[in-house]
C-alpha cells in the first residue's frame, strides 16, 4: 500500500497504536549501541528464550536508547491494565526471573527504576500495588528534561513506520504538503527561532530562506550525521532510535527549499545507525513517503545514505560536500556558502540530525509553541551527552537557558564516586573547558562562546580532580593534529606545533616561555585557518590557559602535575601498612612491574613501571600512592 491521503495515514496510525499499546504484554529492550555495549543483546536473548520455554506470549521489541545510559541495560515492561515499569541494569539472570514472575501473573515492583506514565491512558499513573515506584519524569535525571528531539527514542520500534506514525509521525509532512506553501513552512521555522544544532547555531530558517530564493534546476538537502566530536553521541542515538523523524524533517526541508534529492551522511563508526537509516529509507519508500508525488501533492523527494569513512573533517560542511562528490574530505573557503553553491555547485542545505528531527515537531505544534521553550534568542531544547566523571551519564534534553549547575549537579548527580568536579568540557576539540566557577552560567550559544567554549554538537564531558587540564589540552591537540586534513598550513603546522609544546610541558620539560609561545601560536591558528576545524582547534588550549593557568605553571615551574596524572611527573609506590598482598595489582600491571608473594607486601619495580596507574585504580585498599 502507498500512503496517499490522511486517511491512509490514520490507518497506519491505528496499526502502530495496536503494537505500541497492545492488549497483553510488551517488553522493550534498549538496544542502541550503548545498550548493546552494556550487554543488552544477552538480556534480550534471555527474555526471548525464557518466554519461549514457559510459553509466555509477549511482544519483545528492540528499541533505541531512552537516554539513561548509566542504567543500561534497560528493560521496559508494559502489562496492559496493570502498569509499565522500567528496570535498570538488568542481567540475563534477572531477565529470566522477570519472565518467570510475569508468567505467574506478577508485575514485580522490586528492582524497578521507575514507572513510565502514559498520557491519556489507563496507565497514566501507577496502581496502588506499584505506588512506591517513582515516576520516570520525577527522577532527578529526568525531571528537568523536555524531550523534543528524543521524543520517540527508546519508546518505539525504530524501524516500525507504523509506530512512528502512531506517535504523530508524518502528520507534519502532511500538513506541510497539503495545507502549506514552501514559504509558509520556512516562516514557521523562522518564527520558531530554531538554530542549527550542529553547533554553530545559525538560524535554520534563514539558511532555508536563502536557498529557497535561488532559482536552480536542482537543489539538494544533506543531513549531517558525521558526528565526530569525541564525547558526543546524540546524533547516533536519534539515527538509531528514531530514524523516521530525521527523514520526515529532511523531506519537509526539501519541500521548503525546492530540493528533490537528499543525502544522509553517517559516519562509518556508527554501523547500527547506518543499518537503521537504510531500513527506514526503504520502508518510507515502500509506503510512498519518499519517491514521486508524495501525499498526491505533486512533490517528489528521494533520499539516500552516504557512509563516511573515518575522517573527522567531513563534519565540516564543505568537506562533507566534497566527500559526497567523490573527492577528498577537504574543506574550501566560504563564501560561496553551500546554500548558494554546494553539492555539484548547486544550492544545498546542510542540517544536523537534531535540527532535522526537530522540524516535524515545530510544524506539528507551531512556531509559537517552540519559541515558548528556552530563552529569547535561544529557543527550544538542546541535547547533551553528559559523560565523563559524572554520577549519572546519559543523554539529556533540556530547554536552553538551564545552568551548568543544573546539568552537572541536579541532573548529573555531581562527580563520579563523590569526587569534586573540576571542569566541564563542551564542543569536543572545537570547544573549551569551563571551571565550576561558571556553574551559574545559563547555557546559551552566546554565553558558551563568551566563556571560551562553544555549544557544540552535544558533547558535555565532566572532569574531576584526577584529570590534568594540561593533558586534556594535549589530548585535544593530538586529536586535531591527527584529523587536520593538511590543506591549509596554519592548521596543519600549528596544531602539530602546539601539540609538541604541550607534550614538552606534560613531560616536565616546559618553560614559562613555552606558555607565551603557546598563546601566540594559538592566536594565529585561530585567525588564519581555512575552516572551522583549524579556527577552533586552539580553544581547548586557550580555555585551559584562561581558567587553569595554575596547573600549567605547576608543570612548568615546579615540575609537578597537581592531578597526579602526567606520567613523567609522578611515581607510584605501595604503602606497606595498607597492602594486604591480594595480588590484584600484580595481575593488572601490563608490564609486569609488580612483584610479591600472596598475602605479603607487593613492590613496584620503578625501572619497569610506566606510571599507567592501573594498579592505583584497581587496589581495593587504596594502598597504591601517587607521589606527585
Amino acid at each position: 500500500m502507498k500512503v496517499r491521503t490522511r486517511s491512509d495515514l490514520a490507518k497506519l496510525r491505528s496499526d502502530g497504536l495496536s503494537t505500541l499499546y497492545p492488549p497483553g504484554l510488551r517488553i522493550s529492550v534498549g538496544m542502541a549501541t550503548c545498550g548493546l555495549a552494556a550487554g543488552a543483546a544477552e538480556v534480550y536473548d534471555a527474555l526471548h528464550d525464557e518466554a519461549d520455554r514457559l510459553g509466555l506470549y509477549l511482544m519483545l521489541i528492540p528499541t533505541g536508547c531512552i537516554g539513561y545510559c548509566q542504567q543500561e541495560p534497560l528493560v521496559d515492561v508494559r502489562v496492559s491494565g496493570r502498569g509499565r515499569l522500567l528496570y535498570a541494569r538488568v542481567t540475563p539472570d534477572r531477565a529470566r526471573n522477570m519472565i518467570a514472575s510475569l508468567a505467574a501473573g506478577d508485575l514485580p515492583a522490586e528492582g524497578a527504576l521507575a514507572y513510565i506514565p502514559e498520557e491519556n491512558s489507563e496507565l497514566s499513573k501507577p496502581s496502588e500495588a506499584l505506588a512506591g515506584v517513582p515516576l520516570l519524569n520525577e527522577l532527578p535525571f529526568y525531571s528537568q528534561q523536555r524531550k523534543i528531539v528524543l521524543r520517540n527514542s527508546g519508546l518505539i520500534d525504530p524501524v516500525s513506520l507504523e509506530e512512528y506514525i502512531a506517535r504523530e509521525g508524518y502528520q507534519s509532512l502532511a500538513l506541510a504538503l497539503l495545507d502549506d506553501t514552501p514559504q509558509g513552512v520556512i516562516d514557521h521555522v523562522l518564527d520558531s527561532g530554531l538554530r542549527g544544532r550542529g553547533g554553530a547555531g545559525f538560524p535554520t530558517g534563514r539558511k532555508w530562506q536563502t536557498c529557497h530564493g535561488i532559482q536552480a534546476q536542482s537543489k539538494y538537502i544533506i543531513c549531517n550525521g558525521d558526528e565526530g566530536d569525541p564525547g558526543a553521541y546524540v546524533d547516533r542515538t536519534v539515527l538509531e532510535g528514531d530514524p523516521y523523524s530525521v527523514i520526515e524533517g529532511m523531506t519537509i526541508g526539501g519541500y521548503a527549499i525546492g530540493a528533490r534529492e537528499g543525502f544522509i551522511y553517517v559516519r562509518d563508526e556508527y554501523p547500527l545507525a547506518i543499518e537503521r537509516i537504510t531500513q527506514a529509507l526503504a520502508q518510507a519508500e515502500k509506503l510512498g513517503l519518499l519517491g514521486e508525488n508524495i501525499f498526491s501533492s505533486g512533490f517528489d523527494f528521494n533520499a539516500s545514505i552516504v557512509r563516511g569513512a573515518g575522517a573527522f573533517v567531513c563534519g565540516e560542511e564543505t568537506a562533507l560536500i566534497s566527500s559526497i562528490e567523490g573527492g577528498l574530505g577537504e574543506p574550501r573557503p566560504r563564501p560561496p556558502f553551500p546554500a548558494t553553491s554546494g553539492l555539484w555547485g548547486k544550492p544545498t542545505i546542510i542540517n544536523n540530525v537534531k535540527t532535522l528531527a526537530t522540524i516535524p515537531a515545530i510544524i506539528r505544534h507551531g512556531a509559537d509553541w517552540y519559541a515558548s521553550i528556552g530563552t529569547e534568542g535561544n529557543t527550544g531544547t538542546v541535547v547533551f551527552s553528559l559523560v565523563g566523571k559524572v554520577a549519572n551519564t546519559g543523554l539529556v534534553e533540556v530547554p536552553l537557558g538551564l545552568t551548568l549547575y543544573d546539568m552537572i549537579e541536579s541532573i548529573g548527580g555531581g562527580g563520579l564516586n563523590g569526587k569534586q568536579v573540576k571542569a566541564i568540557q563542551t564542543g569536543g576539540p572545537s570547544g573549551g573547558c569551563l571551571p565550576t566557577a561558571l556553574y551559574n552560567l545559563p547555557i546559551t550559544y552566546e554565553n558558551m562562546t563568551q566563556a571560551g567554549s562553544i555549544m557544540g554538537s552535544g558533547g558535555m564531558v565532566v572532569m574531576d580532580e584526577d584529570t590534568c587540564m594540561v593533558d586534556v589540552a594535549r589530548y585535544f591537540l593530538g586529536f586535531t593534529m591527527a584529523e587536520s586534513c593538511g590543506k591549509c598550513t596554519p592548521c596543519r603546522e600549528g596544531t602539530r606545533y602546539m601539540y609538541d609544546i604541550l607534550t614538552r610541558i606534560t613531560s616536565g620539560e616546559g618553560t614559562l616561555k613555552d606558555l607565551e609561545l603557546l598563546e601566540e601560536v594559538a592566536e594565529w591558528v585561530k585567525t588564519a585557518s581555512l575552516c572551522g576545524l583549524g579556527q577552533t582547534a586552539p580553544n581547548p588550549v586557550l580555555s585551559t590557559l584562561r581558567y587553569f593557568r595554575d596547573e600549567y605553571e605547576a608543570h612548568v615551574k615546579d615540575k609537578r602535575c597537581p592531578a597526579g596524572f602526567c606520567r613523567a611527573l609522578i611515581r607510584l609506590t605501595i604503602l606497606p601498612d595498607l597492602c594486604t598482598g591480594c595480588g590484584l595489582c600484580q595481575r593488572e600491571c601490563p608490564v609486569g612491574a609488580i612483584s610479591g608473594e600472596k598475602k605479603k607486601l607487593h613492590v613496584i619495580d620503578q625501572e619497569l613501571c610506566t606510571h599507567c596507574r592501573l594498579c592505583y585504580n584497581i587496589c581495593p585498599e587504596g594502598a597504591v600512592e601517587i607521589v606527585r
Binding site: G308, A311, G388, T467, V472, L614
Partner: protein, 159 residues
C-alpha cells in the same frame, strides 16, 4: 540560469560506497580492485588512490580478520582508555596499528565510538564492549581467536 546545465554525476557517494564494498569483501583495498573501481566509475586512478589513503577506514595493506578498535574519545580517555590500549597491546604483543602474524587481529584506535556513557569502550568488528576492565579482555578475545588465547592461558597456568 545557464541554458545548458551540466548533468550531475550519476550518484552521490558512489566512490565511497565502492571502496566500502571492496573493503568489506577483502578486509583491505587490493590494487587490482582499485584499478577496476576507477574504470567502472570513470574517474582517474589517482582520485581513487587519494580517497583510499585519505580516509582512516581504508587500508592498502592486508588486515586481520578481526579489527579491534580501542576508543580514544574524550570520555574514554579520561576514564582510562589509554590504559586499556596498553593492556590490549601487552596481551596481543602488538602496537597500535599493527596486525598479528596469524592475521587474526588488527589493533587500531578510534577517535570516538559514540558510546561515551559506557567508557572505556572497545569494539571488535561490529561488537561493542562497554565499561571495560582489563580482566574482561581474555574472555572477549577468546571469542574471536579461541585456540591461540586458550593456549596462552594454559601456558600461563603451567598446564
Amino acid at each position: 540560469m545557464p541554458l545548458i546545465e551540466q548533468p550531475p554525476p550519476p550518484s552521490g557517494g558512489a566512490l565511497l560506497a565502492k571502496l566500502h564494498e571492496i573493503n568489506a569483501k577483502h578486509g583491505y583495498l587490493p590494487e587490482q580492485y582499485l584499478r577496476s573501481a576507477a574504470d567502472k566509475l570513470g574517474i582517474p586512478l589517482s582520485q581513487v588512490y587519494s580517497a583510499a589513503t585519505f580516509y582512516s577506514a581504508f587500508s592498502l595493506k592486508p588486515r586481520g580478520r578481526h579489527t579491534i578498535k580501542v576508543c580514544m574519545g574524550t570520555a574514554c580517555y579520561i576514564r582510562g582508555g589509554d590504559r586499556l590500549l596498553e593492556k590490549v597491546e601487552a596481551t596481543l604483543g602488538l602496537k597500535n596499528g599493527e596486525t598479528t602474524n596469524d592475521l587474526v587481529f588488527t589493533l587500531e584506535t578510534v577517535h570516538c565510538l559514540g558510546s561515551c556513557s559506557m567508557a572505556p569502550v572497545m569494539r571488535v568488528d561490529n561488537d561493542t564492549y562497554g565499561r571495560m576492565k582489563a580482566d574482561h579482555l581474555p574472555r572477549i578475545l577468546k571469542k574471536y581467536r579461541p585456540i591461540d588465547i586458550a593456549a596462552q592461558e594454559f601456558k600461563e597456568q603451567g598446564i
